[in-house]
């Protein structure tokens, strides 16, 4: 048995039956990291001593019969979630040496459940990017083809799961940053409804769009992590007060009576034929499983979503990133001749090119004379996009689309053309604009490269999404395919 290949539910069963210990499982994953991370580079920080300590504590807890389903299960956390005492960099020079004095709420919740944290995952700097190439430290490689990107910005989190360097991970999603890399790496990536998971301790990118979610090897694991991380948090005033259901109860392999819409608006010109074919075949499978499927052009404002998103997100980012002044924490330029000079140099050397681009873009959209034409206009278009989804959900229980228009692209391919890079998120960012939930699940391969299918739900419609994802997964074997990384 290869311990590193286990899912949460498999490992959890073995732990409770005392067939393995958390310490053995944790050690197996560190062995796996030592074996493959030199090639995929998914991790910025490996917290070995702490993890081994947590594993010992988990074993004691299991011994006493006080374990939860996640006790003793190793995880990786995206490096934009604060971990008390463990460096949290956002893959930026700005926070390269930042050690948070507190935990993000999601980390608190997972710790309380008995998580063993293996380390922190690489990402695009401040979560701005779709390929992980914008990490200030090093790019992460796609385990299905090392010359290709893993997607982003939660690329490290997705690769760690796909390469079996962890049992599960957390990512964050502002415009597709969980789902697009999940699709590119053939893992399950869930972006919950805005407010379903606390953002406290998540380093802010665009506060009205950011949401944390799980990245797992299968849908059952996804539901198990959701059960732990979802719920109201008094420390996040945008977190939803609604009770959290037991998501594992949604895992029924039957889609009878469900009405699914397929918006043709998402099958954009330029979409790769292989991707389109895979998603068509997957939709057929959903029909065979009992769902009623209807195709139509019911989301016509989709074509404006990219522009609206790339005004709203950078505008919020330009405000959020103003806090990095080199005074309270983070990189601080010392070689300066005045306060203003120090401030300018701190940002010049602390931020990478994509972060600078977005700060400038946001500043432009918010500046006097352009506010109405850009920011306000984008917010109005946001209303129309949201309303369009509301109308669609009067008729459908969920919508099915590709996760991204292409399979993973080559490292370097889109770095010189920001607009081409932004297009990689064309199918995922409307969902953040509307604040609704969506999941990407493995849906096939084109020439050995993964394709993701996105399932979109109504606000707090997580259970329906899990049911569809589970039924599809049970009838296919895409999720059990593994990339060949052994040397």
């Amino acid at each position: 048995m290869n311990l590193h290949q286990l899912t949460i539910h498999e490992a959890s069963d073995l732990l409770r039956r005392r067939e393995i210990s958390s310490l053995e499982l944790t050690q197996a994953l560190f062995d796996r990291i030592a074996e493959v991370d030199g090639r995929v580079r998914s991790l910025v920080t490996v917290s070995t001593d702490r993890a081994l300590q947590q594993a010992r504590e988990a074993d004691q807890r299991i011994e006493k019969g006080e374990a939860t389903l996640l006790t003793g299960i190793p995880a990786v956390i995206k490096d934009n979630m604060c971990t008390s005492g463990v460096r949290t960099t956002c893959s930026s020079r700005m926070l390269e040496n930042f050690i948070p004095p507190y935990n993000a709420t999601v980390v608190e919740r997972l710790n309380a459940a008995g998580m063993v944290m293996l380390g922190k995952a690489n990402m695009d700097e401040f979560a701005m990017g779709s390929s992980n190439e914008h990490s200030a430290f090093f790019p992460t490689h796609n385990p299905w083809d090392l010359s290709r990107v893993p997607g982003g910005s939660s690329g490290g989190s997705c690769v760690a799961v796909a390469a079996d360097e962890t049992i599960y991970s957390l990512g964050s999603d502002t415009g597709g940053s969980i789902r697009q890399p999940a699709g590119f790496c053939s893992v399950v990536g869930f972006k919950p409804t805005y407010g379903r998971v606390s953002r406290f301790g998540l380093i802010a990118f665009a506060s009205s769009l950011d949401q944390i979610g799980p990245i797992t090897k299968d849908v059952t694991d996804c539901a198990m992590v959701m059960n732990t991380i979802c719920g109201h948090d008094p420390k996040d005033s945008t977190s939803l007060p609604h009770p959290v259901p037991d998501y594992t109860r949604s895992l029924v392999p039957d889609l009878k009576g469900l009405r699914l819409g397929v918006p043709k608006d998402y099958f954009i010109p330029g979409m790769q034929k292989g991707v389109e074919d895979s998603v068509h075949a997957s939709i057929k499978r959903l029909e065979e499983l009992g769902a009623e499927v209807e195709w139509g052009e019911f989301l016509p404002h989709t074509r404006y979503a990219l522009a609206a998103y790339y005004i709203i997100a950078p505008s919020e980012a330009s405000a959020n990133l103003a806090r990095y002044d080199g005074v309270k924490y983070g990189f601080s330029a010392q070689d300066a001749n005045s306060m203003w000079d120090a401030l300018e140099k701190t940002k010049q050397f602390g931020f990478g090119p994509e972060v600078k681009r977005r700060i400038m873009l946001g500043t432009y959209a918010l500046s006097a004379g352009y506010y109405d034409a850009y920011y306000l206009k984008a917010q109005k278009v946001r209303t129309l996009i949201r309303q369009e989804f509301e109308q669609a959900f009067e008729k459908f229980d969920a919508l099915i689309t590709p996760t991204s228009p292409t399979v993973p692209f080559k490292i370097g391919e889109k770095m010189e053309d920001p607009v081409q890079m932004y297009l990689s998120d064309i199918c995922t960012l409307p969902i953040n604009i509307a604040g609704i939930p969506a999941v990407s699940i493995p849906a096939g391969f084109v020439d050995g490269l993964p394709v993701g299918m996105q399932i979109i739900g109504k606000p707090l419609g997580e259970e329906t999404l899990l049911r569809i994802a589970f039924a599809y997964e049970q009838s296919t074997n895409w999720h059990s395919k593994k990339p060949q990384l052994e040397s």
Binding site: F98, Y194, G195, S237, M339, K347, M360, L361, G435
Partner: protein, 96 residues
């Protein structure tokens, strides 16, 4: 969509972002290209459409004003680049 070097420099000044001359030119070109792609929004009729700032409408989220334990000054200042006697040390704000 045209953007001049001066406009780029002015925006950088607004956010106190230091840029090299090369940065200014590269950003000018890239921002022009991105803004051109945003022109598509002008096709959308948004007459009588209210703006959305947040997708989920929660209003006036309040809590009782109760004090709870917080981080110590040492913990708060642990990441500060320059500190002195329990304070953040900053450069002179007012020039003489």
């Amino acid at each position: 969509m045209k953007l001049s070097r001066e406009e780029v420099k002015h925006m950088a000044l607004l956010v106190h972002l230091g840029l090299s001359e090369d940065d200014v030119e590269r950003l000018r070109e890239q921002l022009c290209n991105i803004l051109e792609n945003f022109e598509i929004l002008q096709q959308v009729d948004t007459t009588n459409v209210a703006p959305t700032a947040h997708s989920i409408a929660l209003e006036n989220v309040l809590r009782d004003d109760e004090s709870t334990p917080s981080l110590t000054a040492d913990e708060v200042l642990a990441n500060a680049p320059n500190r002195e006697e329990g304070y953040l040390k900053v450069r002179a704000v007012l020039e003489q």
